[in-house]
Subunit: 114 residues, 2 copies
């Protein structure tokens, strides 16, 4: 995640994983550290393009990560530390989550791309 | 947006618009009312499937809307009141935004689909 919050991405096509979740009220410290570590790890993965995330005061959050292709997403899914953290999260951090994998076909922003 | 925050969606494929934005600190009342109205209007559009949104305390937000197909997204883009509100928002509410249109290929959640 850049300081601005926006991912700096190439032109489409590329892939995205949209992860919507509602946090429970447990283990804020452990969760925050793991979230930080997962962004750090994801950024080291081949095919990682960027990530954007927000969470509101009620605990509902959306994290959107961007990848070159489906193979990069599959490799990240099977990355060992990520898999362990994901399993821990399912048990301990979330009331509910939904995950969608999509192919970005078009993109534009409020200022011209660099 | 359902009370839970999660959109209740059919099986893929379907389309999504990922709108990432950073609010300025102006016109919170006008913005909130327009955001509420846009969700209400979107829900009346043919092909609308659902919407999920969050914004953090720093003003960074992600809104993900879901649609049956690209034609439904195009029709929403050209809906008259939406177009006027969008133009107003570009001028008055956002420091920056990015918009991505993507085709959802796979989806799963933390509980079995109904």
């Amino acid at each position: 995640m850049s300081a601005s919050g926006f991912a700096s991405l190439p032109r489409p096509p590329y892939y995205t994983v949209i992860f919507s979740s509602r946090r429970n009220d447990q283990d804020e410290v452990g969760y925050a550290e793991a979230a930080r570590r997962m962004v750090e790890l994801a950024a080291l993965q081949p095919g990682f393009l960027g990530i954007e995330a927000c969470r509101d005061a009620a605990g509902f959050g959306i994290t959107v990560s961007y990848w070159t292709d489906g193979a990069a997403i599959a490799a990240w899914k099977h990355q060992a530390e990520h898999a362990v953290t994901r399993a821990h999260g399912r048990e301990h951090w979330y009331d509910h989550y939904e995950l969608r994998v999509a192919k970005v076909e078009r993109a534009y922003g409020s200022t011209p791309a660099a």
